[in-house]
């Protein structure tokens, strides 16, 4: 007989231990399809580790991949903390990228000290504004934001394609649907020569720390936590529930917008409609793996980035498809969600017929 006992709030060790255990279980489970593909599991994982950490190039590639994941992870984490279900980080990322391109491709001519902050601000503002609509619909009319944010992703992606094949198409692009390149003054600085790693990572780290401080130490953070944990009591206590949702919506969208800025102004240099391989959606996984903790988001994003980069590298050397990365990430998420049960309940195996059995049915 198995029985569940509610437990006291989990200790910090347990909060850290459980996602780690979940990741390990996911890796163990992923061994099955690897073996089925005819590859030795240890070889495959060895190659993956090498692909993510084996050289300075591999390591910086992993960090480059982590930067947008940290930001979209933060977008999901802060929104989910307030129980504002923003599933639209993908669209907000593209909106941020589009705004960065609009500002940074020659429309404004200014030195980097002026232009770069403008590009960053424009991207953040665009992401935030995209999220403002669903948030207002939620607070004013009670429209479910899961639906509106999710569907806006497609609207925005199509809008970006329209712009890239119309007004914002690069006249020198030989007809490819891509934007003009960013000006040098609008480009995020490289962090290392001959590597792709860029200033977007610094923005991501700074954002994680800023949101950590916001949630832990400020009145706004207090209000976000209170609204998220019990909106009814927050309203009764006179907290500005609607204003909090709007603040959170703007902030969440801004984080996703910054992810878009990093990708165009740091990595690609111009905008195409395949800028993001689903960073917005992966951000949700990152946030859940991190237990919605802003600092945890950094670690979870690094983990997922190393899985993706490592799997890419491994699939080039073996017959295992790089879809394995998606599999591992998905299984880690499932394991973390299941392990949430272990955080809330103590599970005991008891023999029936002992004098302490207490099933409730």
């Amino acid at each position: 007989m198995i029985r569940f006992e509610p437990r006291e709030p989990a200790s910090l060790q347990r909060l850290i231990l459980i996602p780690v255990a979940a990741a390990i279980v996911a890796l163990v489970l992923a061994a099955i399809p690897i073996t089925a593909a005819g590859v030795n599991t240890f070889t495959a994982y060895g190659l993956m580790a090498k692909g993510a950490f084996g050289s300075m190039f591999a390591f910086t590639e992993m960090l480059t991949r982590a930067a947008p994941l940290i930001l979209t992870g933060l977008a999901a984490a802060i929104a989910f903390r307030a129980k504002l279900w923003n599933i639209g980080a993908e669209g907000q990322l593209y909106a941020g990228a589009l705004a960065a391109v609009a500002v940074g491709t020659g429309w404004i001519d200014a030195p980097a000290v002026v232009l770069l902050p403008l590009v960053i601000l424009a991207g953040a503002a665009a992401g935030g504004l995209v999220m403002l609509g669903p948030t207002l619909l939620k607070t004013r009319l009670g429209v479910d934001e899961v639906v509106t944010t999710l569907l806006l992703n497609f609207v925005i992606l199509l809008f970006v394609q329209m712009m890239l094949e119309g007004p914002m198409q690069d006249p020198m692009g030989m007809g490819w649907p891509q934007s003009e390149p960013m000006l040098d003054a609008a480009t995020l600085p490289k962090l290392m020569s001959r590597m792709r790693i860029h200033g977007g990572l610094i923005i991501a780290f700074a954002a994680a720390i800023a949101i950590h401080i916001l949630l832990k130490r400020t009145v706004w953070g207090f209000e976000i936590r209170a609204v998220g944990e019990n909106a009814s009591a927050a309203a009764h206590a006179g907290l500005p529930v609607k204003a909090t949702f709007i603040r959170v919506g703007l902030l969440s969208g801004a984080m996703a917008g910054l992810a878009g800025v990093g990708e165009v102004a740091g990595l690609k240099g111009y905008l195409t409609a395949d800028l993001s391989p689903g960073f917005g959606y992966s951000g949700i996984v990152v946030a859940m793996l991190a237990g919605l903790s802003p600092l945890g988001v950094v670690i979870a994003a690094l983990f997922i980035a190393s899985i993706f980069v490592g799997a890419d590298s491994m699939s080039r050397a073996t017959s295992v498809s790089n879809y394995l990365a998606d599999l591992i990430v998905a299984m880690s998420l499932i394991c973390v969600l299941i392990s949430g049960l272990f955080l809330r309940f103590r599970i005991k195996f008891v023999k029936p017929r002992t004098n302490i059995s207490q099933e409730t049915q």
Binding site: E5, E8, P9, R217, T218, V219, W220, F222, E223, R225, A226, E229, N230, S232, A233, A234, A235, H236, A237, G238, L239, P240, N355, I356, S357, Q358, E359, T360, Q361
Partner: protein
Amino acid sequence: MTTVSAAPIVLQLTQITKRFGSFAANEDVSLTLRRGEILALLGENGAGKTTLMNILFGHYVADEGNVEIAERTSGTLNALPAGQPNAALDAGIGMVHQHFTLAENLTALDNILLGTEKLSAMTSSRTAARQRLDDLMRRSGLTVDLDARISTLSVGEKQRVEILKALYRDARVLVLDEPTAVLTPQESDTLFETLKTLAAEGLAIIFISHKLDEVIAASHRIMVLRLGKKVADQPTEGSTKLQLAELMVGKSVPQSTRSEQAAGPLLLTLKQASAGEGRTALHAVDLELFSGEILGIAGVSGNGQATLARALSGLEPLTAGQLQLDGKDLSGSNARKMIDAGFARIPEDRHKDGIVGPMSVAENLTIETIRAPENQRFGFLKFGAIAERARQAIKAYDIRCQGDKAPARLLSGGNIQKIVLARTLDAAPKVVLAAQPSRGLDVGATADVHRRLLDARARGAGVILISEDLDELMRLSDRIAVIHRGHLSAAEKTETLDRSTLGLKMAGHGFHGDTGEAA
């Protein structure tokens, strides 16, 4: 009573012990119930009454001890299989829960028949069922319109359907969990008459209660539980309220009563105020509250009290009329403005509206004033000051918790209420709105709440006390108004009122004439 004590035993619980972790909800409790007997199970909240009944009904399995029920025909006692509600039902144990388990969109007849017919039966034999029910109703005096939808029935009628449901299943033991919590005094009297009739016919009845008056009025025997242990099992004859109260609480609790105090100037007025919609709406309510008085609002649950409380809390806008404090109009105010204007609001549902469970005791103590300069600077929280004041409040209000950082959800109901009291009353409010402030609290915590309200009154605050407990209202209030279907009667001095007049008003008598419109 001699006939009862000689009657055959129907139900026997022997040395029941039930532990949740290290906490013993029931410890070595034995109980014998005879045919035709009404047993009152008395105890504070958390004394283990409901746990015991859940064991009887098979919802829980006892760690030790067993339940035996008499064979229908022979009368020999057989052990009831543990943990099987169906076995309990088949053996003839019927339960009427505090919150009814009726499908609102079905008729009374449908609800009674639900679950009694075989799935494989192609047709339902309504006519036979109806005949049996008519017969049952005639014998017991429980009359209900069998074809009425449950949603159209009053609370008292719904309860009758629940009892009929149990009787239809040939219940020999009927368990009622706090049956009078939702009834008017008159409805309660009718219920107890019915129970006595049923008992005279041979039904054995257990009713759970913490109201001493009804326990003494309606039972043959009283069993008192305290902290999971049986502390008394005695005939009702010769039991006194005082003695039972002491058995229940274990110590004598001094009850606060108000002292004479002249009311001060007019503080708060509601003029023709309406709010909300539907069954719980408030219609053109007039109310005056003076400084230094407690104004009681009596009424059966669901008659607009919640809307009144929400309107006075700034959570529900008035659709018509005015709300004024000290002559200043507050009609369109939100919760924030009401707090700033000097309202202390004690919500009816303290878990849902009173605290943010996962946040700490300190955070819950500060939540209403988090933006005040003593709690923040430039938007950053002053942790030291917040924790320091929380520790003072924990001491001053005797909040039992594992320190100011403990999550509030781990606290008991009484201590959660103390958090709410501490944060609202500490600001020396002008108006205190207390909605069902002692609901679900034990005697000690209730006394504490009462004392705080009286302290506020002595300090000159005006207190609005919304309650369903007439004893509480009559002891604390200077004046009492009755709310019925959203209409509020004129408040009258408590000295001029008695329970039966209030009861009649709670049932709606005299309202249509007073308000000049049909409810």
